[in-house]
Symmetry: C2
Subunit: 211 residues, 2 copies
């Protein structure tokens, strides 16, 4: 990532912010959803959506008729946030409670992907992120599906990652209190697939069998 | 919730939007985190943060020194989004893939909670949301901790909930394809607490024993 701009440097806990792709990409590659914010006449709007990173950009898709997609496709400034929560940090005082998280904030502007093959590739990347190795197994995408979908790319030049890890940081005078402190880890696991009625006699494909 | 404003009515899938507290409150009460967006000179900024609903408002807390808190405390318009993801919806075509989710969008403006007792109450609500029944067990909050923290409330008058449930909706002509379709449920579970080194000889309090 390039040099930090001023609005990328948080006023609090600035030491936690990282601007390198080794910090940023793994978070983007693990998280399935981001929240994209934009503003019209200083009224902010934000929408959660799925996304995929490929090389130095992230990609999102939406219906060509979507109001949200049409607004951000104009290239207005957006702020994209991603957060993974790893654990609740339970301290001896409420004031020292915290969260172990990994987050990314991206300031960017949409580029419309017009090229058919590149658009198709971006569908493949997203599909294989959501369900690894599934693209080749699915019914191939039809040209009219590509036409009905807008693909937008966002450069990651102005991005930063923040994370908290580890145990609670209680106040010095609280350390000896006989109050339990530690972590409550959160799992964000995929559970066993559930077939719909159309698939009861179809064997689960190999790429879903590990779940 | 009051009558929907125009920006609360999504252009797509408008049928899914709900404006009643029976739809909105359970999502706000289950989700631990929201993303708050605001805008300065049409540059959007957004930040994930924990929150709690109490009656017809949500509350967030932050350091009095936080740039983000000071910006939104001025009462500028904010957009707050909350999303819970229940399952990945795996269709026979990539185009029909979807997500089972429950989301809330809130348009609001911060009110600063100045009253000491009300501020303290909002800490209690949030603490007991993050770790149910824990407030009374913790070291009591000190007056200077209350002073160092800004508590902001947001009315929910302009809020809407959306959700998707159920199995994939494949295209009519795809229904007989021998391709597996169904759901991959996602669990967002709390795992067994992990003691820090200060708590190895402290028994786990009752409110954490079910984890």
């Amino acid at each position: 990532m390039s040099a930090p701009l001023e609005h990328l440097v948080p006023s609090r806990a600035a030491k936690k912010a990282r601007f390198d792709s080794d910090s940023i990409y793994p978070i983007l590659d693990e998280a399935l959803f981001c929240t994209i914010s934009y503003s019209i006449d200083n009224q902010p709007f934000s929408i959660p959506t799925s996304f995929v990173r490929y090389e130095d950009k992230i990609y999102i898709h939406g219906s060509v008729g979507s109001h949200f997609i049409r607004q951000i496709a104009t290239g207005i400034p957006v702020c994209i946030t991603v957060m993974l929560v790893d654990a609740l940090v339970v301290a001896k005082s409420a004031f020292s409670h915290s969260v172990n998280y990994r987050s990314v904030v991206i300031f960017s502007k949409a580029e419309i992907i017009e090229d058919y093959e590149q658009k198709l590739a971006s569908f493949e990347w997203l599909t294989n992120k959501v369900v690894p190795d599934s693209w080749e197994y699915l019914r191939p995408v039809k040209p009219n599906e590509v036409k009905k979908t807008t693909a937008l790319a966002f450069k990651l030049d102005e991005s930063s990652a923040k994370a908290r890890t580890g145990m609670p940081n209680d106040e010095e005078e609280d350390l000896e209190l006989p109050i339990w402190s530690g972590l409550i880890p959160l799992s964000n696991k995929r559970l066993s697939p559930i077939s719909d009625s159309l698939s009861e006699n179809i064997s689960l494909p190999a790429h879903l069998q590990h779940l």
